[in-house]
C-alpha cells in the first residue's frame, strides 16, 4: 500500500472507489446507484470547469470569508515551553466551523443538477447549521437529520438551523447520535433520490461523498500553505499539523496540501475521541484498534463487535461521536503517513480550559481534542518546531456542556 505523489489523495482510488485496495468503495442499495453515478459524473465535470471553480472561489471569499486567520498562540507557547504553537482559526469562517466549505459546494452541486431539495445529517449540528445556511443562501428546501441525544446537547446549532428555515428530523433509533442520523438520512434519500440531493457531512459514505467533501475542505490547507510561506518566508523544517478526527473532513482539508511533504518535515497527527476517561466506549477506530468493516456505504475501520454489529460510541464532543472514520484516513494510517492518537473527554476539557485561559480563542470540544495532544507534546519539543492546530469550530454550540462540566458561562 503506497501513497502516490502529485495526485490529490481524494483521487488515489481504484475503479471501484477503493483507497489502498480496501478502504472506501460504494456499498449502496441498488436504488442509489443511479443518483450516486449521476453525482459522480456531475462532480467530475464541474471540478474541472473554470466557471464553477470561479463560482466556488467567489463564495469561499465573499460568503464564507476566506482566508481564515493563522495566528501564533504566544501565551500558550510561553506557558508550556518547548515548541511554538500556532492555530489556523477555521472557526472564523461564516457559521463558525469548517463544515461550511462542504455545505456550500453541495448546495452549488444541488443547484447545478436542478434539484430543489437537499438533505443532510449532523452530529455536532455544525454540518446541519451550515447546510441550512447554504440552502437558504441558494434557495433550496432543506431537511436535517439529527440524533435526539445530539439535539439536546447541541441546542444553539439547532436553533440556528430552524432560524434558517430547515426542518430538523429527530432520530430516535439506536444510540440517537450521528451514526443513526446518517442511517436515517440515507434511508430518506433512498426514498426520495429522484428529487432530492444528499449532502454527507464529512469525508465518509460512498466514494463520491468522500471526494466532494475532501475537495471542499482542501481550501483550508491551500490557505495555510500560503500563510506559512508568508509568515516564515519558507516552509519550516519541522511542522506538526494536529487535527481532531471524527469523520475526518477538517483533518483532510487541513492536511491535503502537505501530504506530499516528507514525514520528517511535516508530521500529520490526528486526534480521535477517546470518550470518558474510565469508560470502555470511545469513538476512536483508528487509534484504538478497530477492525475493517462496512458502514454507511464505505469500508473503513469501524468500532464494531465480532458479528459485525456497529458499537455504540461515547464522546463529550458530538462531532467526533461516530463509530466509523473516513477511508482516506484509514489509508493515511496504513501507509503510515499520518499518526493517530486519542484524547479523552477530560483531556479535551482541560485543553479547552488552558487555551481559553491564555488565548483569545474559543475552540469547540472537537478541536479541543487536538489542542490536548498539542499541549501534551509541546514541552518535549524544541523551539524550532512549529505545531499548528486546526481550530476548526467555535465553542458557542458547546456552551451548555461547558457550563455543566466547568461551571463556566461562555
Amino acid at each position: 500500500m503506497k501513497l502516490k505523489k502529485n495526485v490529490p489523495l481524494i483521487d488515489q482510488h481504484d475503479k471501484y472507489g477503493f483507497w489502498g485496495g480496501k478502504f472506501g468503495g460504494s456499498y449502496i442499495p441498488e436504488t442509489l446507484k443511479k443518483p450516486v453515478d449521476d453525482l459522480t459524473k456531475e462532480f467530475s465535470k464541474l471540478r474541472k470547469n473554470k466557471s464553477f471553480i470561479k463560482k466556488r472561489d467567489f463564495y469561499f471569499n465573499n460568503y464564507i470569508g476566506a482566508p481564515t486567520r493563522f495566528i501564533k498562540l504566544e501565551n500558550l507557547s510561553k506557558h508550556l515551553g518547548g515548541a511554538q504553537i500556532w492555530a489556523k482559526v477555521v472557526s472564523d469562517a461564516n457559521g463558525g466551523a469548517h463544515k461550511i466549505y462542504n455545505a456550500t459546494v453541495h448546495a452549488l452541486l444541488c443547484k447545478s443538477m436542478g434539484k430543489k431539495y437537499i438533505v443532510g445529517d449532523t452530529g455536532a449540528g455544525y454540518a446541519g447549521k451550515m447546510l441550512s445556511m447554504a440552502a437558504k443562501k441558494f434557495g433550496l428546501k432543506c431537511k436535517i437529520f439529527m440524533g435526539a441525544k445530539d439535539i439536546k446537547r447541541q441546542k444553539p446549532n439547532c436553533d440556528a438551523m430552524k432560524k434558517n428555515g430547515a426542518e430538523i428530523v429527530p432520530v430516535t433509533t439506536g444510540s440517537q447520535t450521528l451514526v443513526d442520523a446518517v442511517s436515517e438520512c440515507m434511508r430518506y434519500w433512498v426514498s426520495n433520490c429522484d428529487t432530492t440531493h444528499m449532502c454527507v457531512g464529512s469525508t465518509v459514505g460512498p466514494n463520491i461523498f468522500v471526494k466532494i467533501c475532501g475537495w471542499s475542505t482542501a481550501q483550508i490547507s491551500r490557505e495555510l500553505k500560503k500563510q506559512i510561506k508568508i509568515q516564515f518566508k519558507k516552509i519550516p523544517k519541522k511542522i506538526k499539523l494536529i487535527n481532531c478526527v471524527g469523520g475526518g473532513s477538517s483533518a483532510y482539508g487541513f492536511w491535503s496540501e502537505f501530504i506530499d511533504f516528507p514525514k520528517s518535515q511535516i508530521e500529520l497527527i490526528g486526534v480521535e475521541a477517546g470518550g470518558p476517561k474510565n469508560s470502555k466506549l470511545h469513538a476512536a477506530p483508528l487509534s484504538r484498534g478497530a477492525k475493517l468493516g462496512v458502514l454507511h456505504g464505505a469500508a473503513s475501520y469501524v468500532c464494531q463487535n465480532n458479528e459485525g454489529q456497529i458499537n455504540e460510541t461515547e464522546s463529550i464532543s458530538a462531532g467526533l461521536d461516530y463509530p466509523g472514520v473516513s477511508p482516506i484516513h484509514c489509508f493515511l494510517k496504513d501507509t503510515k503517513r499520518a499518526r493517530y492518537t486519542y484524547a479523552t473527554d477530560e483531556d479535551a476539557l482541560n485543553a479547552y480550559k488552558l487555551v481559553t485561559k491564555f488565548e483569545k480563542l474559543n475552540p469547540s470540544l472537537e478541536p479541543s481534542h487536538a489542542f490536548a495532544e498539542a499541549i501534551k507534546i509541546c514541552p518535549r519539543l524544541n523551539k524550532d518546531t512549529v505545531i499548528i492546530v486546526n481550530s476548526c469550530g467555535d465553542a458557542k454550540k458547546d456552551r451548555d456542556i461547558l457550563k455543566r462540566r466547568l461551571g463556566k458561562r461562555i
Partner: protein
C-alpha cells in the same frame, strides 16, 4: 437436478399463480418463536426469505428495523440464524430459504466461511442489500460455485444498460424493488406502472424468475398477481409487532395473514 428456488417458481406457475415469498427477521421476537412462525407459515409460502438482523440498516423501513432490534436485543447471533435454517430444513426440507442482510456481517464472518455455512445449513439463496453490481461480481461467483443463488436487485432508478448487465449476471431469481422507498413504504406507484417496469425486465430475459417486493400488502397483492413472485415483508413484521403489543400469539396471527395473502393470489 432442478434448483429448489426454480422448482418453487415452476410449481406456482403450474397452479397459475405467482410464487409467494415472505420475509421474516431471524430471532424476532425470540429464536424459538421465529422458527415456529416460519414452520407455521411455510404451508402457504413458496420461498422463505429470512433476514439476518443488522443494527445499522440503511435500506430498511421502520417495521423491519423494529423486528431486527427486537431480535438483536434478545441476543440473536449469526450462528443462531444458521441453526434456525438447519432446524427449519429438518422438517421442511423442500422449502427454499433465502438469507437477506447487509454486507458487513458477511464480511466479518468471512465471505468463504459464510458461504460454507450457508451450504451446510441448507440456505439456497442470498440477498445482500448493500452489495450492488458490479461490485458483487466476485461474491456472486463464489455463491454460484457452491450452488447458492445470488439474488440481484433492480430498482426503478436502474438504467437500461445496467438492467441488461445485471440480468445477464443474475442467477435463478431477480428482485425488482417496486418503488423508491425503504421497505414497508406505502405503495406510491400504481400497480400498473410497476407491472409496466416489470415487463421491461422480463422482456430482457423471460427465463429468469423475477419477483416484486416493497410496499406489498393484503390490499395490493392481488393487483400484481401476474408477476412470477411477490414478496411480503414489512406487513408480516408489523403483524408480529401488533401481536406482541396486544399480548397475542404472533405464530397464529402471522399464519392467518399469510394464509390471506396466499388466498388473494390463488
Amino acid at each position: 437436478m432442478i434448483n429448489p428456488i426454480n422448482l418453487a417458481f415452476k410449481n406456482a406457475k403450474e397452479k397459475k399463480r405467482p410464487a409467494l415469498l415472505t420475509y421474516t427477521v431471524a430471532g424476532d421476537n425470540t429464536k424459538k418463536k421465529s422458527l415456529e412462525i416460519l414452520k407455521s407459515i411455510s404451508k402457504d409460502v413458496d420461498i422463505c426469505e429470512i433476514g439476518f438482523p443488522h443494527n445499522t440498516p440503511i435500506a430498511d423501513g421502520g417495521q423491519i428495523q423494529t423486528s431486527a432490534y427486537r431480535a438483536l436485543k434478545n441476543g440473536l447471533k449469526i450462528s443462531d440464524v444458521f441453526q434456525m435454517v438447519r432446524d427449519f430444513k429438518k422438517s421442511k426440507n423442500s422449502k427454499p430459504v433465502i438469507l437477506m442482510g447487509y454486507y458487513n456481517m458477511i464480511y466479518q464472518y468471512g465471505e468463504n466461511n459464510f458461504i460454507k455455512k450457508c451450504k451446510s445449513s441448507g440456505v439456497n439463496g442470498l440477498i445482500v442489500v448493500d452489495l450492488p453490481w458490479p461490485e458483487n461480481k466476485g461474491f456472486a461467483k463464489k455463491c454460484k460455485s457452491k450452488a447458492i443463488s445470488f439474488v440481484q436487485l433492480l430498482s426503478p432508478t436502474t438504467s437500461k444498460e445496467r438492467l441488461k448487465n445485471i440480468i445477464k449476471d443474475s442467477h435463478d431469481m431477480i428482485y425488482y424493488i417496486s418503488m423508491l422507498s425503504t421497505t414497508g413504504g406505502k405503495l406510491k406507484v400504481s400497480p400498473k406502472q410497476i407491472l409496466n417496469n416489470y415487463n421491461k425486465i422480463k422482456k430482457i430475459d423471460p427465463k429468469k424468475n423475477c419477483v416484486i417486493g416493497f410496499g406489498i400488502t393484503e390490499k395490493t397483492i392481488a393487483k400484481l398477481r401476474s408477476a412470477d413472485g411477490l414478496v411480503v415483508g414489512s406487513a408480516i413484521c408489523k403483524e408480529i409487532t401488533r401481536s406482541l403489543n396486544n399480548r397475542q400469539n404472533p405464530v397464529i396471527n402471522v399464519s392467518k395473514v399469510v394464509a390471506k395473502l396466499r388466498n388473494k393470489i390463488s
